[in-house]
Assembly symmetry: C2
Homo-oligomer: 644 residues x 2
């Protein structure tokens, strides 16, 4: 790999390019100079104190810069972002430069103490925290206003001068990772620690959750198979399966919290202090004083945001939900009409006509989902949230509700209005399987194929026929900058969420759903891994301690599934036969059982501790130590004062 | 007040007695000397560095000691316990001795910077943290073993050498407080800040909650009155009342959290760091090493505790619940028998007999409650919890479940098994009103009367006829040490909890309950205030940031009340008349409405933020400042390192 950097190595032997900055081709010379000077400038002068080099491509353009940093600078940055690392005594502690010798694996010449993903995260953090001092505008762009304390990179991004910042892949590391991850056929766990080192905690946690969820579904799948094989129709067996399913889903969600705590403790993010969040790039408002920081920044009244949320977004979402239901009703009418038509005519044409409504509906749903997604993004952006996290939460909530309705409304209608269990089972199976196949295709294999074709063309253009690992740096950067951007784990979690819905909402009608989910997830792991390694640009690592709002989403789904399953069991003819005289007793019994199950779920969620005991003890020990340190400090003052 | 301390003032002019230590009369001279020496010894030598004086009573006994501390010592103690105080710039900050000048109202000669309750809390904390160094036993008591780090005071308490430690009343302050609190008839708020200064946060928060709860019940009471006056029986009016009630109860519990945050922010406890909890006095086990502190202390396996909880306590509680239900069934049988007997005989004797079952049942319930309380305390103590907080939570849970059943089981039976709404209304009214009257009597007036009689006798014995304020210190201590001990706010909250149950569980049947609750609570404030000021020993202040497990208990009750009210409305003849053909539609509608209400409750609890915006901003500012301070520190290292 070294040889390819030869042009750079000549003048700075230990410059290791970590992050790529791509400017617009038309960027003025003046701006380029100012930006690189600011990035390279000393901290004391308000710079980021990073190393920055232009990447000279063959056509002589100079709009791409490589950013790196000295090992010492990275260590200081690790302290600034508050990285937590393992000490020689096996405890996890916040890294500080002065205590660096106490950390495991630290040596002044050991470049691998910080993983590459951590280094890139530090550089991203430092770049984003490069702030305007007394500049009023971006040099060369009088329309791009600055004020003291404004993040320069964010202003450059919003003004289109900066096209993108992305971290570079490390071809050798990637090759190793690919090999252990999906390169060979094997039964076993994913190399989560390696994934975390390469892609960061958010993505590692997603793959961890995917793997855990797959394993957790196995018992359901195993129990579900005989129902299909022997065509069991006994009501007590279905009740047993559903009850097991409901309690199991509570248990797995609680146990996941514990596993997640174990993993993120090992990775250090469980202990990492939340950084103060800067306004997100799209946030705008009148320049005022932030009451928290006392800094000048755009301010937007929270009441106006609330008004926008409750008076515009909420009604709009409700309208969309209503519209989606309306479309569903039209679909059912069409379906009925097609059936009637087929009954009357009994021709080849009429039997073909039977499929038309389903096809139209599937297409319309897909179109609605896409349009709604844009609308949701537009609305959430218009709500003008100050924080990226709050923007994400509002967006997730909007998309989640709509997708839930779109996916499950027809099933609810079939189950609780048409009372047609056979149709329900059939629709459930069709929806689940087709959505799984389509997803895998659209999500990984299609982009992979496109990417591969693009790469070949690129290589042809450059007249070189080397394999991946001996690409020159210029080629590598040019290839990677054209790759698609991975927009976070949202869609991946959404897919799992909907799958969880298919498995648990109507589990007592279709026990085989868990089997399909398990099969899908095994290939999903491979296709998602392929997607991360081959299709998309490397994403920046994001430290995180849990799967956030998705935990709540999954828990809500498991509460809803208690209600649906109880109703389904109550409606089954076998249960109805038990109460031949009184429908009322039946309903009351079902309602009672449902309430008991819900109560049991809450008690279980309450009784199972969120963190395993050893993690609790480790956390308590750290807290105790910091309290003791405080006391020592007090005692020192104490002696001093009393000896006066 | 000063004159009464004359005997002490002669040799130490600024000794202000704050806390009283009472030793057993038989305590050996050797032990007394050792203890006082340890308390007075310098911090550097492992002492508590407090001032301690024997109180010589008239009969020459020397088993009572007064403990105080210099102003300087108290300020250092305030730093140790982590008190949070207001700064001159109106922000709340953790007090440190070195930054003392930045705090509001601080002056080196201003003794009132710390409230008396805070001073007493500091002294209690310092006494409890007085630890054995190399002593193997308590001098004079070879059976009272010590090990390095063992709290001396706790060992003295468990061995019966130390009888009690309690804080002294301040007669003048108390008189002022009594006057503003309940001395004059007035409509207005309680002086919560003064109560907090005198009794500490836990008690002030109880009175704050009591007051808030009373105000919150007023709208329900106002809406409830016309139902009684005009004898409204329209179903839609009842539904409206119940719906309002259910949503209202969610709102008030959420709003309380916000108010509580406002109050505890002002008091500084919202920001106060939780101290590391020592093992509770009764905790025992094999001497081992605490994995958190690394100190030697008794260790008890958590698995054995879990076994005791789940294999002994849980079955026992279930058995008790079953037994309580069984007794209730016997009561209903007796009631029926008495009715039949009366119908047959129609004599004076038989009409008297009608009351017998109720009286017997009331007495039996009271006896069961008391026995169960002892059993619960014994069991929870036997479960051997390491922490006082965990002991309290387990005790509260046990007592709560049993009391809930005992109070409401008969009402549930009448409502949902006998379907007798008239009897339900009647029983509810009787239970509510009699329990309120009995409680107020047994809780405050009876002890007050006993206390007054005792005081008179004491005074007579001492041949003095002075009023409270000019009691000598010796007399004051002798009076106060005989007063009853206030065992915390448990029973007071329990009373409110059960009252909340009476008001909300069957609100649609008896809207007048809220009226009685409001009336009761107004007098309750006065009787509880009287109890605190006159009847009991002054309790130690306990810093707290919320009402803890009671918030959860009240929220659970409000969830249960959704279910009960929906069923009651569903059973009402008016609603039944709406569904003349199909009972099934009725039940389904009721179940649907209930689920919607529950969902609405959860959404509301989720949407209403737990802390008001300004408190959120203040907390965020503090967090931001500490992050910035950390960065400054990093930057300092940064400069230093880069200038190398």
């Amino acid at each position: 790999m070294k040889e390819s950097w030869s042009s750079l190595d000549t003048f700075e032997p230990n410059f290791r390019p970590l992050v790529v900055i791509e400017l617009a081709k038309s960027t003025k010379e003046e701006t380029r100079e100012w930006l690189t000077r600011r990035i390279a400038d000393k901290k004391a002068n308000g710079g980021a104190q990073l190393l920055v080099k232009p990447l000279v491509t063959e056509d002589g353009d100079q709009n791409i810069y490589l950013v790196g940093a000295s090992h010492f600078r990275l260590l200081l940055g690790a302290e600034t972002v508050g990285l937590v690392k393992e000490c020689t005594d096996n405890s996890m502690r916040t890294f500080t430069y002065s205590s660096r010798k106490t950390f495991k694996g630290f040596a002044d010449d050991n470049q691998s103490f910080l993983t590459m993903a951590e280094c890139q995260y530090i550089i991203k953090h430092e770049l984003e925290n490069l702030r305007a001092k007394d500049e009023k505008i971006i040099p060369g762009y009088p329309q791009a206003k600055l004020y003291p304390g404004k993040s320069i990179v964010r202003r450059l991004l919003t003004n289109g001068i900066l096209i993108q910042i992305f971290p570079l892949h490390d071809q050798e590391e990637l090759k190793k990772l690919r090999h252990t991850w999906y390169g060979r056929v094997k039964i076993g766990y994913q190399p989560l620690d390696e994934i975390r080192c390469y892609f960061g905690e958010t993505i590692a946690l997603y793959f961890g959750f995917l793997e855990y969820f797959t394993f957790a579904l196995v018992p359901m799948a195993v129990i579900g198979i005989p129902y299909y094989v022997f065509a069991w129709e006994d009501y007590d067996k279905y009740v047993m399966f559903a009850t097991f399913n409901l309690l199991w889903s509570t248990v797995i969600l609680e146990v996941w919290k514990r596993l997640c705590a174990v993993m993120t403790y090992r990775w250090g993010t469980l202990l990492m202090k939340r950084q103060f969040e800067e306004p997100r790039p799209g946030f705008h408002g009148v320049l005022g004083v932030n009451p928290v920081t006392g800094r000048e920044e755009p301010v937007y009244s929270s009441i106006r945001r609330q008004l926008r949320i409750y008076l515009v977004s909420l009604p709009f979402v409700c309208l969309c939900l209503y519209f989606s239901l309306y479309v569903m009703m039209i679909y059912f009418d069409l379906e009925q009409w097609a059936l009637d038509y087929h009954k009357e005519n009994e021709s080849n044409f009429s039997s073909l006509m039977l499929f038309v409504p389903s096809i139209i509906y599937a297409i319309v749903i897909e179109i609605m989902n896409r349009i709604y997604r844009y609308a949701a993004e537009f609305l959430t952006s218009w709500e003008n949230h100050r924080l990226e996290s709050s923007y994400q939460n509002h967006l997730i909530l909007k998309v989640l509700v709509f997708n839930f309705l779109n996916c499950f409304a027809s099933l609810f209608y079939i189950a609780f209005v048409l009372f047609d269990m056979k149709l329900l089972r059939q629709s459930l199976a069709t929806l689940l399987i087709t959505s799984q196949i389509l997803n895998q295709f659209a999500e990984a294999f299609l982009p992979y194929w496109l990417q591969k074709r693009h790469k070949k063309r690129m290589k042809k253009k450059m007249y070189s026929q080397k394999t991946d690992t001996d690409l020159s740096l210029v080629e590598q950067v040019n290839l990677e900058k054209e790759m698609g951007t991975y927009f976070g784990t949202f869609d991946d979690y959404l897919e799992l969420f909907l799958q969880f819905g298919y498995v648990s909402l109507f589990s007592c009608v279709y026990p085989l759903a868990a089997v399909f989910a398990v099969l899908n997830n095994i290939t999903e792991i491979y296709s998602d891994a392929l997607k991360m390694c081959r299709v998309y640009k490397r994403p920046f690592a994001e430290p995180t301690a849990n799967i956030g709002v998705w935990q709540l989403a999954f828990e809500t789904m498991s509460v809803i599934s208690v209600v649906t399953n109880c109703i389904l069991i109550g409606m089954s003819p076998q249960v109805n036969a038990l109460f031949p005289d009184s429908k009322m007793d039946l309903i009351l019994t079902v309602a009672f059982v449902e309430h008991m199950l819900l109560a049991m779920k809450f008690v279980m969620a309450f009784v199972i501790p969120d963190k395993p005991r050893d993690i609790q003890i480790k956390l308590a020990r750290l807290e105790f130590e910091s309290l003791e340190a405080l006391k020592q400090q007090v005692r020192a003052t104490d002696y001093k004062a009393s000896s006066k």
